[in-house]
Amino acid sequence: MTKAGPASVEFRNVSMRYGAVTAVDNVSFSIEAGKLVTLLGPSGCGKTTTLRMIAGLEIASEGQIMIGGKDVTRLSAADRDVSMVFQSYALFPHMSVIENAAYGPTVKGLGKEVARDMAMSKLELVGLKGFENRFPSELSGGQQQRVAVARALVLEPQVLLFDEPLSNLDAKLRRRVREEIRELQQDLNLTVAYVTHDQEEALAVSDRIIVMSNARIAQEGAPRDLYEQPANAFVADFIGDANLIDVTVKSVADGRAEVAIGPVSVPMPARGLGIGPAKVAVRPESLLIGHEADAMALPGTIKKCAYLGNHLDIMVSTAVGELFVIQYGARDMLEPGMPVWLSFAKSGVTLIPPV
């Protein structure tokens, strides 16, 4: 059987409304063929609805959805060449592993033998050879997840969708499975849309990330861009930790701004902002703690200090509010009340618009 291979996905001004509630509001984006794109955001931001619209499980209220350049907006899920791995895995409890995996080709009418062979090859791929006659209830969570992946892969869909696939696994297993998913995607050259609310997971597996907030896209880009160049306070805060500080831009020259953070003045890239109020997102590891008075540094006092194995979590109260600082390596604990001076590292300090 010849397959179409991976296909691109494109959303053009797509909205989804349930009565008065707008779950997805005028969203446009595209996913290139053969790439893994993550839809990232807090719960209720519309990411799962977006994914279900790609699958055809929800029909968009407005806009156009294209898969492989073909308009599929009104097509039902059964007519789209898309498969999905569900959060709950949705394995059919009354069917064995092989019957689950062979379900797609079976209902397509490909014949028992063909369906079985196709299913076996995918089960082998996910490392479940030898488990084919078990029932889902007899497998561990990780194994069930692999069955779900194998079942979704069997028809070699143009687009593969993952809806929070790791949320039912324990923390250690998560890291391994997400690497496996990424490897599988790259080896088989699949177009994958992947929904998660875990930013670390998103950074680890994605070619690109689409951050969603309140039914809209907050920012999209490569993982590194999002972390280092957040477009707004929401993205800065959601991807990694960030201290958001109200500041004033004093002057801009040659694309560099002179920014007043409390009593100190710090130069940084202007990123198109002009003179006036703004915000600065500072990563906790980009605040450096000094123990001697420094005119270029922000004075403060230690509020709390917690030991977390490979790093210290420190709260420092300053003129611009309480700041969260991380110190890596085996450092000494800092006593509350101790005066410190915070200076800013070269990276991890980003100017963002005030709202």
């Binding site: 699958a55 055809g56 059964a78 569900f86 059919f92 409890p93 009354h94 029932f135 209830s137 079942r151």
Partner: protein, 738 residues
Amino acid sequence: MRAATKLALLLGWLGYALLPWYFVEGMSLTEFGWLAGYPLGKAGSALVLALSGQAPWLLPIGVALVAATAVMSSRDTPRVATVLVWAGLAGMVLFFAQGFAIALENQGIPWLAVLLGGSGATQRGMGAGGFLAILSLLLLLCHGLAYRGVCRGDLFTTSSIGIVILLIGLFIFFPVATILRSALVDQAGAFAPSAFVARFFDSSIWGLGCLSANVNCGVAWNTLVLAVLTGVITTLLGLACALLILRTGMPGKRVMRALTVLPIITPPFVIGLALILLFGRAGLVSSLLYEWFDVPRSRWLYGLPGILLAQVLAFAPIAFLVLIGVVQGISPSLEEASQTLGAKRWQTFSTVTWPLLRPGIANAFLLGFVESMADFGNPLVLGGNFEVLSTKIFFAVVGAAYNQGQAAVLAIVLLAFTLGAFWIQQRWLGNKSYTTLTGKGDAGLPTPLPRRVQWLAGLVIVPWVALTFIIYLVILMGGFVKTMGRDHTPTLEHYRTGFAIDFSRGIFFEGAAWNSFFTTLKVAAISAPLTAIIGLLTAYLLTRQNFRGRSSLEFATMLSFAIPGTVLGVAYILAFNVPPIEITGTGLILIIAFVFRNMPVGVRSGIAGLSQIDKSLDEASTTLRARSFTTLWRVVLPLLRPALVAALVYSFVRSMTAVSAVIFLVSAEYNLATAYIVGRVEAGEFGLAIAYSSVLIVVMAIGIGLIQLGVGERKLGRRKVVALSSSVSDPINQGAVS
């Protein structure tokens, strides 16, 4: 046009051009006398009848089919959709228009008949041809809608919705509407609202004479008082029993469980019958009391006390089933929390346990109330001069003073009562979560009952359980003695009368009961799977598909719950006695009555079953390219097996035990076991009646066993999910009216 649509079209032509359009009496597959004159004559096909000018009003229906056929090979989907929608819609409208406009002489709608070119003409009820034609037109309409993108273009979904709506409309709404219409016309058939008002406020319904003078009260009050008493007493008994079983070390849990199955397989009037044999004027106990203590024989049993006793015995197990669920649902940790906060046993009971029980108690009460309202068998057997609505309706239809209008008015009153109770139940309890089950393991131990409550409960239920045992003993023994209460010589005479088989010339079923027995089995066996299919399909549509008007459909199915059997029986006889659907006196009407009487149970058990199946399983199947029918068949149905069993068992059993609806619908040719037994009771042949009843009970027990074996258990890995013990009894838990 897809293949399925072509098939629907083919069906339409089959019905229109080939099959007899009208219902032919005396149709058989071995003798073909009824075919005389085909394709003209009484077995003629619509096409020929229309073209020959005998029934020109049938021609437009054919035109609709021609229109649909014209676009058969078109690839222009939007155009095909439009043509199908309009052809189907117009065809259906014309179909019903001619059916209702042109009926028997002096019936129908004259002005519409003139319009359709059938002025003054008459026609008989629709038959197989008409049925196929309307089915085909409906399917064409639904397919057309699907081509337009309704329900995501799924033919199966739109077609099922269409079929379910048509069936409910024809067999629930149309009969009930007919009752309303009959109530508004006088004996001659003219519109007479004043007659309705007069009948409605008649003192025989609402009179309060019994309070002041020595006359009978209105039948509505009788019914109401009886229902309230039954509701209260059954609830108290059920509660006492549930508390004792769950909260004390009382032995007999199994016995009580078994006791709850009995009312399911016992025809409702059998309890009344057994009571007559025990406490009637010539009953066993009455005789003993007379001989030993000189207590005079009396007729105290006939009237309110007797009916009440019978209904309490019959319906208390249902209340018990409801309440045991509620008591089990109260998490012990709540009571333990109360105790750790320093509350005494009695304080815990009155401040924590009781308030949590209250909604469940209200539910049990309403169930008993509605069951009592709808009960027909016991009041018929034990009523005496004490009339209730259901029996009065019966006598208004079959009695000497045939009064269709009065029957309709009484049916409306009864319907209003049950709908009211049902409405309260839905409104008040529908959205209240009154169990505190969380799905988390709750390790606590339930608090033992306070001593006072224990004593009280024990005092109440011991006589009840004892009486129930005696009653079933009487039912089983009664058939083997000459005359219960008078002559206890063992005999097989009753069984011989009913169930003798003559082996002298092959097998000849000689007994008087065989005919009705076989009819009952046949009708129950045919209607049970139909009920299950329609019920589960409706449940699937209601829970898993999104379409406009879904909530109305849900409301309609729920409504059919609250229609008492007597009302449905009257409605059917009024609605289906005349064309266009003229099926009274056939076996078909019995099957249809059972299907739509029991459908709500199928719907409920389907909804309950589906709610346990995660929706993502359906979605997973859909994303793997399965259409909704494939999903239903391969994923939902296998997982729905327990619900399927419940629906099958329950509709089978109810078909065998039902009296109220079918007593209007049976005929000499198609008599049913229960109707036959009621006839024996009225003729005073108690021996045969009781023997037949026990045969029924045994047969039903066997039937339940067979169905359980046949459908089997749900296979989920090596763990067997044994859901039967609860699922069989579950619909009782939920079913409202019998």
